[in-house]
């Protein structure tokens, strides 16, 4: 035991941090499966009637076959134990909707959402940080007032409404944005590597497909980003105002450094730590909150999949989605902490 302890502390800080987080992460995922399993059981509604038509549902033989096929005839603890047993083998069960393994479904829908959320995140970071920094520098001037209105609008406008309006204006009226979906109608998807069309087309050198994919992602990504732009702008402004007031920023000015360096290196650095935290939470929220944007823009992502699965009480699919979202949250949180430690040398991991 003491040998184990000694060798544990002999590990590098970083590795110890990652291992500890992974261990906690596995426990969390276990909890998520249990909770989503219980929730799918206690909600009123019966997967049988949700998946079978009226006629089939009134036939006891069909119902019995359906229950047996999806393991619904077994006692609940046994169902859960069975689920876990398959889970450790990488099997998330079969979707009652698509009749395919849930892992296959996730492999198809998840990359679309990650692609969309990542694009939105990049936009949100670029605009949010830029606007926040400008607002802080021009504090109480007209740029600050204008940016305050923009960010307030960003966090206030309902996403689904914004999605519909932008689609109406930029596609139907102005015709400068392409229509819904990930590619033009009938467009051929690039060879599946990551299932993110922009990246796959780039990797295989299909430039036409790449530009189509990019043009299709801009509008939904912008709509998805708006809320996060607002919140990142506000956080950046507050963090910049705080750090601009610090003694070390005055020191930097006293050293005669150009104002650009003072702001982008000396004042930004501590603000970045705060921004990374907000951005991490925002990314998780985007992944789990894309359903409205995905519906309006017919984006075949995890949000739509989760929505359809929930309507159909597709137990395995719901649990699969919950698990995947939990894993992403855990990974993003770990990444945030790692980046935080990179930014601030006072923070020690481990």
């Amino acid at each position: 035991m003491s040998y184990l302890r000694t060798s544990w502390y002999a590990l590098p800080n970083l590795l110890r941090f990652v291992l500890r987080r992974l261990f906690v992460g596995v426990l969390l995922c276990l909890g998520v499966t249990l909770i989503s399993f219980i929730l799918t059981q206690v909600v009123p509604g019966d997967p049988v009637s949700a998946n079978l038509g009226d006629r089939a549902a009134s036939d006891p033989v069909i119902v019995a076959v359906f229950r047996e096929r999806y393991g619904l005839d077994k006692p609940l603890p046994e169902q859960y134990a069975l689920y876990l047993q398959r889970l450790v083998q990488g099997d998330l069960g079969e979707s009652q909707q698509t009749h395919r393994p849930v892992t296959t479904d996730l492999g198809q829908y998840l990359p679309a959402t990650i692609e969309l959320a990542s694009a939105a995140m990049i936009l949100a970071l670029v605009f949010g940080i830029a606007l926040g920094v400008i607002a802080a520098i021009k504090r109480d001037g007209w740029p600050d007032q204008l940016i305050r209105i923009i960010s307030l609008a960003g966090v206030s406008v309902p996403t689904f409404w914004l999605a519909l309006v932008t689609l109406y204006v930029f596609f139907f009226k102005l015709g400068i944005a392409p229509g819904v979906g990930r590619l033009n109608p009938g467009g051929k998807a690039p060879p599946a590597i990551t299932n993110m069309f922009t990246i796959d087309s780039l990797l295989t050198g299909q430039w036409a497909t790449f530009s189509t994919a990019i043009s299709h992602i801009v509008l939904p990504a912008l709509v998805l980003a708006i809320y996060t732009v607002g919140s990142i702008t506000r956080f950046t402004r507050a963090a910049m105002l705080e750090s601009l007031n610090q003694d070390y920023v005055r020191s930097a000015r006293a050293k005669g450094l150009p104002e650009r360096t003072v702001i982008l290196r000396h004042a930004m650095r501590p603000a970045l730590a705060a921004i990374v935290t907000v951005a991490g939470m925002a990314f998780g929220r985007m992944l789990s909150g894309t359903v409205l944007v995905e519906s309006v823009f017919s984006w075949p992502g995890i949000g739509q999949y989760a929505y359809k699965s929930a309507l159909a009480l597709d137990l395995r699919a719901i649990m699969g989605v919950s698990l995947v979202v939990a894993v992403i949250y855990i990974v993003v949180n770990m990444a945030v902490d790692l980046i935080y430690a990179l930014i601030d040398p006072r923070i020690r991991l481990g």
Binding site: R250, S251, A252, A254, K255, T261, R265, H266, D344, R346
Partner: protein, 331 residues
């Protein structure tokens, strides 16, 4: 060093007045007609309580006054007027005039390595490569007696003690080879045992680097250890100036005298500690006439009516007081 030099001083502040916006939307003068000169290699002390305008005076030399502050007058650095030309002010800041601040715990950037903070302005001002700037920085860290300077470059401020951080801050300020160092209460935030080391360091650097120093402090003890000449400020004005030994041994202005009487060291029991009554007036509420008269035990009617000019009383010595306390009360 009280001699009247024929060479022009390194820094010459002439008739500097700084007004600040007040909460009522008016403007109040926080510094009123200050004249101050620093020769090459000279350490000049600027003493006064908080609110006396000493820090504002120093910040105006670097062009770092807080937003809304408006300086009027002339600040000549090697004959360039820093107030008249923003370009001159920018070219001097950090390169020829450097500043060290009070609190070394907050003055260094917590997230940038010592090496980065030692070299970035050196590279910018002297247009050196990173390697050459590193060499300069290591040499300067060694000069301020940081052990293992090369290794210290890779570390961060939180890994050093307060005294070490102040040494690093001084080294960083001096790395670009400035001619004038402005030190604003450089020892106030430090332990007494560490203070003496920092003062000795500044004294040594002055000799080795032919450095001029403007030392701002409310602590006349620090002043007496270091300064060649002393300026005493009260309510935005210089009320006394002279050679350090003269001013400290024979204060001529009642305010200077009050400050010295309040010092715990000096003559023993026959000269009891005497606190200066009252507190310094706030900016915008300076009393009419001599601003010190409400707290002055020698005050007469003339003090309430007229603002006393800073009048020479001996070579290199001037006081702004119509009543010479030397004459009024036997010392």
């Amino acid at each position: 060093m009280a001699s009247v030099s024929t060479k022009p001083p390194l820094l010459s502040i002439e008739g500097l007045t700084i007004s600040l916006p007040t909460a009522e939307g008016q403007r109040a003068e926080a510094v009123r007609g200050v004249d101050l000169a620093i020769g090459r290699g000279e350490i000049v002390g600027l003493a006064g309580e908080s609110g006396s305008g000493k820090t504002l005076t120093a910040l105006s030399v670097l062009g770092l006054l807080p937003g809304g502050a408006r300086p009027v007058g002339r600040i000549l650095f090697e004959e360039r007027d820093l107030l008249a030309s923003g370009r001159a002010a920018r070219s001097v800041r950090g390169a020829e005039v450097a500043m060290v601040f009070q609190d070394p715990m907050t003055a260094l950037h917590p997230m940038l390595s010592i090496g980065r903070q030692m070299t970035e302005h050196v590279r910018f001002h002297l247009r050196l490569s990173q390697h050459a700037a590193d060499t300069v920085a290591v040499e300067m860290l060694d000069r301020v007696r940081i052990p293992n300077p090369r290794e210290a470059m890779t570390r961060y401020p939180h890994q050093f003690s307060g005294g070490m951080r102040q040494r690093i801050a001084i080294a960083s300020a001096l790395a670009a080879g400035p001619k004038l160092l402005i030190a604003d209460e450089p020892t106030t935030a430090l332990d007494v045992t560490v203070q003496a080391g920092i003062l000795r360091l500044i004294e040594g650097l002055r000799r080795e680097l032919q450095l001029s120093v403007l030392l701002i402090t409310h602590d006349l003890g620090v002043m007496s250890a270091l300064a060649d000449r002393v300026y005493v400020m009260y309510a935005g004005r210089v009320v006394e100036r002279g050679a350090r030994a003269d001013v400290l041994a024979q204060p001529r202005h009642p305010y200077t005298r009050g400050l010295l009487d309040a010092l715990p060291h000096g003559s023993p029991s026959d000269h009891p500690l005497r606190a200066l009554p009252g507190s310094p007036p706030a900016i915008g509420r300076f009393p009419a006439g001599c601003a010190f008269h409400p707290r002055c035990r020698f005050a007469e009617d003339i003090c309430r009516a007229d603002v006393p000019d800073l009048m020479p009383v001996a070579p290199g010595r001037a006081i702004a007081c119509p009543i010479d306390p030397l004459a009024a009360v036997p010392a």
